[in-house]
C-alpha cells in the first residue's frame, strides 16, 4: 500500500446536502483509491449516513462534485449507482430469507436462458463469486434464512460483487456480529482489498477502524474535520477529533475501596434451561461486569435475575431476604431494573412519545389517577437529569438517537428507584459522545448506592467500567477477575482452555 497512489476511484469535492433548509452536510472532500479501506467515523448525526447515501445514489447532493472512476457523475438513484459499480451493504440486510443464496445474489438480474431463469448458471456463478472471496464453503443453494448473521452479511457482499462493484460501502458492518465473527469479516475485507475494490467503511468502533483502514476521515456536525493516515494518529487523538475529548477521560473512575457496600443480591446454585450452577454476589455500590461470548449465558443471567426467564433451581436473596423472581413484575417490585440489549425490539415502544416511554414502567406497576401530575413532573426531572436531548417530550422516541433512547429507558427505570440495575450491552449502537454519558450515568448510579450488573461485549468498556468482572461460558460462570484484568484474561476465560469448552 506504500506504492505511489493510483488514480482515485472516487473523488468528492465540497459535497453538501440540506433538508428543508437545514444543512446536514457541507464542504466534504473525500477520495478513495482502488484497494483502499477508507474509514468514515463520527458521532451519530455527524453526517456519515447522509454522505453514504449521496455516494450510493440515495440522495442527490446540493453542492459539490462527485467523480467516479475519473468521470463526473450524478446518480439518479441507487440502481444508477449500482450499475456504475458502487455497492452498499447496509447495517440492516435486504435479503429474502426464504430464497437461496444464489437467488438473493442475482435478485432482479437473474441470468436468463430462453426466457427462463438459468438456475445452473446462477448457482455456478454464485459459487465462483463465493470462492473468489474465500467463502467457498457456503453452498449457493442454501436458504438464506438458515444462515447466521455473519454469513448473511457475506451474501450481501457477494450481491454487490455480482454487480461488479468497484467501490463497496459498508455501514456499521460489525454491529450485528459476535466478537469471533468480526475477525472473519476482517479477512473478507482484506480479500476485497486485494482484488482492487475500494471500501468505504463506516463505523464508530475505533478499534476496527485502526485494524482495517489505511485512511480515516472524521466528520462532525456534517462537516469534514480531517482525513488522516491511520498510522499517524492514536485512538485518543481520533476520539478527540470526533468529540473534542480525550480517550483517557472516557471511563469514569471506579469505586474507591469501601465504596462498595454489603451484598445486595446473591444467587446460590441458580440454574434453568441455559444456566447451570450460578453463584453470584452483587454488592451495593459496585459495577459488576459480565463478559463472555455471545450465547455464553450472559443475557440469560440478566433475564433470570429479572424474572423474564426465571431460575428454576437455586435460591436468590436480596439484602439477605430470599426473593422469588418469577416474572418481570415480581423483579421490579423487588427493586430490580433491566435495560435490555435489543433496544428497538425490547427497550422502547417506537411509536410512542419520549414521555410515554419514560412513564411505561411506572404506569404498569403503580397505576394511579390522582397524583399523575406529580409523577409526570418527576419523570420530567429524571429525563432532564439523564440529559435526554429531543425536540420535545412528545416526540416519538424512534426519531431519537440510540443514546437518547437509552437515556429515556434509563429514566423509566430510575422512576421506580431500583436497588439493582441490570444493563445488557448498554452502549451498543450508541455513538462515542453519548456512550461516555451512559458510562457516567452507570457509575453515578453505583455511587448513589445501587448495585449494578453490566454485560458488555466490548472488552475496553468491560475493563474500563467494572469493579469486578465475571466471565460466562456455556451457561456457567467460568471465573471472576478483579479490576485491572487484561483483555487476554477475559478472553482466556471466555474461550476456555479445552476445545469443547470453546464451543
Amino acid at each position: 500500500m506504500s506504492d505511489p497512489p493510483p488514480s482515485p476511484l472516487l473523488t468528492l469535492r465540497g459535497i453538501g446536502k440540506s433538508f428543508l433548509g437545514v444543512r446536514v452536510l457541507g464542504g466534504v472532500d473525500l477520495d478513495v483509491v482502488p484497494g483502499e479501506v477508507h474509514a468514515v467515523v463520527g458521532e451519530n448525526g455527524a453526517g456519515k449516513s447522509t454522505l453514504m447515501k449521496v455516494v450510493s445514489g440515495g440522495y442527490a447532493p446540493d453542492e459539490g462534485t462527485m467523480e467516479f472512476a475519473g468521470v463526473p457523475r450524478t446518480f439518479r438513484g441507487p440502481r444508477d449507482a449500482q450499475r456504475a459499480g458502487i455497492g452498499i451493504v447496509h447495517q440492516e440486510f435486504n435479503l429474502l430469507p426464504e430464497r437461496s443464496v444464489a437467488e438473493n445474489v442475482y435478485l432482479g438480474h437473474e441470468p436468463v436462458r430462453r426466457g427462463l431463469v438459468d438456475r445452473a448458471t446462477m448457482l455456478g456463478r454464485t459459487a465462483e463469486l463465493l470462492a473468489s472471496i474465500g467463502e467457498g464453503a457456503l453452498p449457493p443453494g442454501a436458504r438464506v434464512g438458515d444462515l447466521g448473521v455473519a454469513r448473511q452479511q457475506v451474501v450481501e457482499i457477494v450481491k454487490a460483487l455480482a454487480l461488479d462493484a468497484r467501490l463497496l460501502i459498508m455501514d456499521e458492518p460489525t454491529a450485528a456480529l459476535a466478537d469471533h465473527e468480526v475477525e472473519q469479516l476482517y479477512t473478507l475485507v482484506r480479500r476485497l482489498q486485494r482484488r482492487g475494490i475500494g471500501v468505504l467503511y463506516v463505523s464508530h468502533r475505533i478499534r476496527e477502524v485502526f485494524d482495517l483502514a489505511s485512511r480515516i476521515t472524521v466528520l462532525k456536525d456534517g462537516r469534514l474535520v480531517t482525513t488522516v493516515d491511520a498510522g499517524d494518529v492514536g485512538a485518543g487523538q481520533l476520539v478527540r477529533h470526533m468529540v473534542g475529548r480525550d480517550l483517557s477521560s472516557y471511563y469514569p473512575g471506579r469505586a474507591a475501596p469501601g465504596e462498595s457496600g454489603a451484598v445486595r443480591l446473591a444467587v446460590r446454585d441458580g440454574g434453568n434451561r441455559t444456566l447451570r450452577g450460578v453463584d453470584l454476589r452483587l454488592r451495593a455500590g459496585e459495577v459488576l461486569g459480565v463478559g463472555g461470548l455471545q450465547g455464553s449465558g450472559r443475557s440469560a443471567l440478566a433475564r433470570a435475575l429479572f424474572g423474564a426467564v426465571p431460575f428454576t433451581t437455586g435460591e436468590v436473596t436480596l439484602d439477605g431476604a430470599p426473593v422469588r423472581l418469577r416474572s418481570p413484575r415480581a423483579a421490579m417490585r423487588a427493586g430490580i431494573a433491566y435495560v435490555t440489549e435489543d433496544r428497538k425490539g425490547e427497550g422502547i415502544v417506537g411509536g410512542r412519545s419520549v414521555l410515554d416511554n419514560a412513564l411505561l414502567a411506572s404506569r404498569a406497576v403503580a397505576p394511579a389517577w390522582r397524583g399523575r401530575g406529580a409523577r409526570t413532573a418527576r419523570i420530567r426531572e429524571l429525563l432532564a437529569a439523564v440529559d435526554v436531548r429531543a425536540a420535545g417530550e412528545d416526540q416519538e422516541i424512534r426519531f431519537l438517537s440510540g443514546g437518547n433512547q437509552q437515556k429515556v429507558v434509563l429514566a423509566r427505570w430510575l422512576a421506580l428507584g431500583p436497588r439493582v440495575l441490570l444493563f445488557d450491552e448498554p452502549t451498543r449502537g450508541i455513538d462515542v459522545g453519548a456512550k461516555s454519558a451512559i458510562h457516567d450515568l452507570v457509575r453515578r448510579l453505583a455511587r448513589d448506592g445501587a448495585a449494578v450488573l453490566m454485560i458488555s461485549s466490548e472488552l475496553p468498556e468491560l475493563l474500563g467500567m467494572s469493579d469486578r468482572i465475571i466471565v460466562m461460558r456455556d451457561g456457567r460462570i467460568a471465573g471472576e477477575l478483579p479490576a485491572g484484568a487484561t483483555e487476554e484474561n477475559v478472553l482466556a476465560l471466555a474461550l476456555g482452555t479445552a476445545p469443547e469448552a470453546a464451543r
Binding site: 418481570p328 413484575r329 427497550g347 412513564l359 425536540a391 412528545d394 416526540q395
Partner: protein, 327 residues
C-alpha cells in the same frame, strides 16, 4: 436544550403529527358540506339530533373496537354478539316491562363474558384474535338460532325500547335529544377518560411493542383481555340501543363488526396497534355514517356499503404504510 426547558414539538412542515384528529375532521367536514349542499336542512337541529341518535350504536362499537385494535388485536364477534343480545333480550323480557333492568344487567354481563372468553382464548391459548373472534362470531350465530328454534321469540317491552327510540322532547334550541345520544355521550366520556388513564396508555404501549411492555412490568395478557371485555360491553350497550330502535331480528347486528373496524381505521387508528385515539375512532364512525347518509341522498345503492367499507380499509392501510415507508 434540555427537555425540561422545551416541551412542545416544533411544527414540522409537510408532516402532520401522528395521531392527530385533523385528517378525520377534515373528511367529516367535507362530507357534511356535501350533505348540506344536497339537503340544506340536514344540519337543522331535529335532523341532526336524530342522525346522531341513529349513529350512536356504531360509534359505541367503534369505541369498543378501538381498545381491541389499539392493543394489536381484532374483534370480529361484535356483530353477532349484538344480534345475540337483542334476541336474548326479547325472549327474556317477553314484553314484561318489569324485567327491563335485570335483563339490561344480564346483557352487560353477557357482553363482558363473551369479551372475557375472546380475551382468554387469544392470550392464554395463543389463538390469533382474528380467528378467535371469527370462531366466536360463528358460535354465537349458531347458538342464537338453536336457542330460539330459528325464529326470534318474545318481544321487547317499551321500557327497554325507549333507550333506542325515545327522546327528551321540546328541548329549547335543539328540539329533541334522543336518549341514545345521551347514552353515547356518557359512554364516550368514559371511554375518553379511560384512554387517558394508566390503563389506556399502557394498552397503546402493548399494541406498539408487547415485548417492551412485558419487560416493563405490564401484564400484557390481562391488559389485552380487558380490551376484549370493553369491546363486549360496548356491544351490549349498542345492542340495547339497536333493539330499541329497529326491533328484534336475526339481522340486528349483521355486518356491524366490519363497520366498527372500518370506522376505527378511518379514525386514524393503526391496525396492528400502538397508535390512535378513541375520539378519532368515534369520529371515524360518525364520518362513516355521514358517508352512508350522503350515498343515500344521492341514490347510491345500499348494497355498495360493504364495497365502500372495504375500499376505506384498503385505502387507509395503503396511506399509512406509504407514510411509514417515507419516514
Amino acid at each position: 436544550m434540555r427537555i425540561a426547558e422545551r416541551r412542545r414539538l416544533p411544527v414540522r412542515p409537510g408532516r402532520s403529527r401522528s395521531g392527530s384528529l385533523l385528517p378525520i375532521l377534515a373528511i367529516l367536514v367535507a362530507l357534511l358540506v356535501a350533505l348540506t349542499l344536497r339537503q340544506p336542512d340536514f344540519l337543522s337541529p331535529p335532523s341532526l339530533m336524530s342522525f346522531l341518535g341513529r349513529s350512536a350504536p356504531i360509534i359505541l362499537l367503534a369505541a369498543g373496537q378501538y381498545f381491541v385494535i389499539v392493543a394489536g388485536e381484532f374483534d370480529l364477534s361484535v356483530g353477532s354478539l349484538v344480534t345475540a343480545q337483542v334476541v336474548v333480550a326479547a325472549r327474556l323480557i317477553d314484553s314484561e316491562p318489569s324485567r327491563t333492568w335485570p335483563v339490561i344487567l344480564l346483557l352487560l354481563a353477557f357482553g363482558a363474558a363473551v369479551g372475557l372468553a375472546n380475551g382468554l382464548i387469544t392470550t392464554r391459548l395463543r389463538v390469533p384474535s382474528f380467528i378467535t373472534t371469527l370462531g366466536m362470531y360463528l358460535i354465537l350465530v349458531g347458538a342464537v338460532y338453536l336457542w330460539s328454534d330459528g325464529a326470534p321469540k318474545g318481544g321487547l317491552a317499551e321500557e327497554f325500547r325507549r333507550f333506542g327510540r325515545r327522546a327528551f322532547e321540546d328541548v329549547p334550541l335543539l328540539g329533541r335529544i334522543p336518549y341514545a345520544l345521551l347514552v353515547l355521550l356518557v359512554v364516550a366520556g368514559l371511554a375518553a377518560l379511560l384512554t387517558r388513564s394508566d390503563f389506556g396508555q399502557t394498552l397503546v404501549a402493548v399494541g406498539g411493542n408487547p415485548r417492551t411492555a412485558e419487560l416493563s412490568g405490564v401484564r400484557v395478557r390481562s391488559v389485552k383481555t380487558a380490551a376484549f371485555v370493553l369491546s363486549g360491553l360496548s356491544a351490549a350497550v349498542a345492542a340495547i340501543l339497536i333493539g330499541g330502535y329497529s326491533g328484534v331480528s336475526f339481522q340486528a347486528g349483521a355486518g356491524l363488526e366490519f363497520g366498527a373496524i372500518t370506522a376505527v381505521v378511518l379514525g386514524g387508528v393503526a391496525l396492528g396497534g400502538g397508535r390512535g385515539s378513541v375520539v378519532g375512532a368515534m369520529l371515524g364512525a360518525l364520518t362513516l355514517e355521514t358517508l352512508f347518509t350522503l350515498m343515500n341522498f344521492y341514490g347510491v345503492s345500499g348494497a355498495l356499503r360493504s364495497t365502500v367499507q372495504g375500499a376505506i380499509i384498503l385505502l387507509a392501510l395503503a396511506v399509512s404504510s406509504v407514510r411509514s415507508v417515507s419516514r
